[in-house]
Amino acid sequence: MKVHDDPLETFREEARELLTELERALMQLEEDPADADSVDSAFRSLHTIKGSGNMFDLDQLVSFAHIVESVFARVRDGNTPVSAELVELGLQARDHIGALLATGDAAAEGLLEEGAELEKRLLALGGGEDAAGADAGAATGGGPAAGATEPAEAPATTAATATPDATPDDPDADAEAEERTYRVTFVPGEDLFRTGTNPLLLIKELGELGSALVMGFTDRVPSLDSMDPEACYISWDIVLTSSAGENAIRDVFIFVEGNSEVSVQLIDEGSVLDTDISYKRLGEILVERGDIAAGDLEQAMGSRDYLGETLVERGYITPERVESALQEQQYVRRIREQRQVTETTSSIKVSTEKLDSLVNLVGEFVSMHANLTHRAETREDREFIAMGEQMEALVRDLRDLSIDMHMVPVDILFSGFRRLVRDLAQDLGKEVALQIEGSETELDKNVIDSLKDPLLHIIRNSVDHGLETPEDRRAAGKDPQGTVRLAAYYAGTNVIIEVADDGKGIDAEKVKAKAAERGIIAADAELSEEQMLDLIFSPGFSTAAAATNVSGRGVGMDVVKQNIEKLGGTVRVESRPAKGTRMSLRIPLTLAIVEGLLARIAGGYYLINLAYIVECIDMQAMERNADQRIIDFRGEVLPYFDLRRFFGFPPASVEQSQLVVVSNDERKIGLLVDSIHDNYQTVIKSLSKVFERVEGISGAVTLGDGTPALMLDVDRLVRVGAEEVKE
């Protein structure tokens, strides 16, 4: 997450993340309407957006979020069922909040009209009613005798969230938002029990907002002679640490405001900058709470005895009030202590720009180290060679650490596609289940950002062109609901991302015919099935008879391929008629630094990504068949590919050459090079326009001594080589 100087921008960014969470929860609820965790998650996201938005006076956003939140409060309390309508409305509300977020309170009229319409529909679902009210109503529905709670039951259901000895280390669900501590004073009206309200349920609900220190006061309870046995005399101070915000706290008491006194005072900001552990003195707390008059405190201070005892002795205050003020003092001190520890030992937010700079600097440092080592070896300077070796471990750790800091789970990318698939399916009248696997797999943040558009296009294609309509699927003997599987997994230093559908598959012959019709290939070209399928990546190719508003947006699979290749990755298609299609994207874990083997071809330097290398072989020692360009590689027939010939250089003696055996997980092939140097770590620079279209080259690097080298596109070479050997 970026950290902005402008707090409003920081709020917007956090709110967008919360909206993503909300969308994820809604999509989960669509699959499993009984998933209580998702209901809680949706409620929390809305609650936090509302609370934080309030700090920036985003009245329209706050008011709208409150209505949506209250719908989910009712769902949480079992008063409104999870339905398709609720999910749909929730998603529309989510989009509306996103739009309000972008425009602030200067929302266009159209947007406001849209909001008003949504509000109506939300109110019909019970929006606008308060969560606390729903709770209290449900619990006290037994009539005026309410207020009753079985002693063994109430504590058992609430002890986890609101107990007098709760400590600030109870993690709040909204730990992402800044936590603040409030003193909530709740003095119920004497007729509270008669209205059927149980104050303990309100305290329970308050405790659910965070961690709470509950302190009850009995000083208003009269003697038996003068008491009304059905009146409520007990009152409370609750010290609550929560990220929910003052509005959410007040909302808990919304139905008792008329006959009770409720005040909410911020007593600890929870600010990172507030490093003062100490809290208010006892006297300050008592005066602030209104327990004693300032004048009485002043008089008692003069006695120089223990203040609390003096105040009680003089009859200014009851012992329980003094004790509760001391408890509050200890509680806030503990929070502050803990915050200091947490803030100094856990995590901090760093902007992605800074992380990018760090990775680039480390990359440059890696190159510099390689240069140093190279020069030391050239000069045979033992002292510097030893220093270079010592530095190597440090450089490696630094490199790994900087790369690791840049890694994020692909879940942030994948989860966004749930909504896409759902909406597409609805638009196209198809039934589609999206299966997500391996969402915990991590990739470079920049890679993930760049993958969004290509994946979006592939998934759109799967749903639009790949999957059949329910009727067609039934007719074909398939489940009317199609499946799109989105999976990620590690493969060496790469991540494979697969988008597979169980649709009608791609007709390779039809692809070939279309390509010939468009002049991409000669009409009589002889192509393998794989080559035919690869034609979908040709510029301008489209198999759709008519472009739909879903896929036909002028972006073809050629652009997808180019974007993946820009990332140093590859894309491959496999398809079986009537069974489905699978697109596999092979993506390097990180863009910044690669480790490769440096080879020479015709005087030039070429880097081969170590992730592909199986072994290096001296050709002199190998039995080979020069005509068929194959060697006997430990009993296995291995085709090899002469890179001199491929790049158009004059041939050289094969016996004097080296063979680098590479594999792209599917095929193994030998790449013939003149000679091999050491392993080399370097930063990849983007290619100039001149090299962009050179087949077999994926990037450029600068070697330690400043010499340029080209990065081989091994995956492409393996495929081209394999085809060439076949011919």
Partner: protein, 105 residues
Amino acid sequence: MASSRFDAGVAPPTLSIEDELSFQTAADIRVSLMDAFDRASGELRIDVSAVGSFDLTGAQLLYAAGRTAEERGIELTVEYGGNAERFAKFYRFAGLKPLGGEAAD
């Protein structure tokens, strides 16, 4: 259902409250408590070990009894017996100090 029994023949004199100590029975229990205070001299025990259900209204009655005892100079004890843990949980949840100090803490 309100059910209480005063036994002046034991030491200290004891008011035993059974079944329910709640909003529904608060008015009756208050009368029983006042009667017990009138009959007690110097000492009084309230026995809630046989109470089945209990709520905030019931707790208030006990606190009111405590206040009355203070005013009348009567030494009041509350016997929680097997209910000690249940009462203690309730008091903890409500942020209240147990009256009589015998509820498990």
